[in-house]
């Protein structure tokens, strides 16, 4: 198990507090928790791709970073106008 995989696992553990905030917090808190979660998720996928030496998997964090930024803006807009 390389240090990249260990770092990915540690970052996944760090998502637990954000998950608690998403579940138990208010709507605004949940959106903030979601933003934190998405940021860490992109890093986790990059770390796992490097840790397992799978070059093809490096495309996943690239796509995820773009899509999650758009989805974050959609959530924020919905929070502002409709929720």
């Amino acid at each position: 198990m390389t240090s990249f995989v260990v770092a990915a696992i540690a970052m996944l553990v760090a998502l637990v507090p954000a998950g608690v905030v998403i579940v138990r917090g208010t709507l605004a808190d949940a959106v903030i928790g979601f933003e934190f979660l998405t940021s860490v998720a992109v890093m986790v996928f990059a770390l796992l791709a490097e840790g397992f030496k799978r070059p093809s998997l490096f495309e996943f964090p690239v796509l995820l970073a773009v899509l999650l930024f758009g989805s974050g803006l959609v959530f924020v807009r919905a929070l502002e106008r409709w929720l």
């Binding site: 760090a14 605004a28 934190f36 860490v40 992109v42 990059a46 106008r81």
Partner: protein, 153 residues
């Protein structure tokens, strides 16, 4: 050997940054305070991870893709934070501007409030039920301004 040590140090710093951010998000009392802790995880940690991949792999395709993804995150995070804090403020106050700015805007509209109503109302930002928000912020109505904001919805 040296590369491995540098990589481990960079990854440790990245994990510590994310862990501290997670702790801050879990413990802060308000959404405004929590949002501050998203930034280190979205800006600082990706740089450290990208550097770790660069140190391990050197300059190749994997490094390029990692840097691309994480650089996009670093560039996009401030915009997302700004949009989020704006949305939370609109939910809490009915308008993203402070009370002083709203008052001066109303003064410029010669007391009719039309300009202000047009600017703010176009966003459909009226919120009156404080129970729904729960963002830890108090709502301050400035001279009945909320009534103007939502008229054009």
């Amino acid at each position: 050997m040296v590369r491995q040590v540098i990589t481990d140090v960079l990854l440790t710093l990245a994990v510590l940054t994310v862990a501290a951010s997670a702790l801050g998000i879990a413990t802060m009392p308000t959404a405004y305070a929590r949002l501050h802790y998203v930034t280190p995880a979205a800006v600082v940690a990706p740089v450290l991870v990208a550097l770790a991949v660069f140190v391990t792999e050197g300059l190749d395709e994997n490094t390029g893709e990692t840097v691309l993804a994480l650089a996009f995150m670093v560039a996009a995070a401030p915009f997302l934070s700004h949009a989020t804090i704006r949305a939370i403020r609109v939910r809490a106050d009915g308008d993203w501007r402070g009370p002083a700015d709203r008052t001066s805007s109303t003064d410029r509209a010669s007391g009719t409030g039309k300009a202000d109503s047009h600017r703010a109302g176009g966003r459909g930002t009226e919120r009156h039920d404080t129970e729904r928000h729960g963002t830890g912020t108090e709502r301050h109505d400035s001279a009945g301004h909320d009534n103007e904001i939502g008229e054009s919805r």
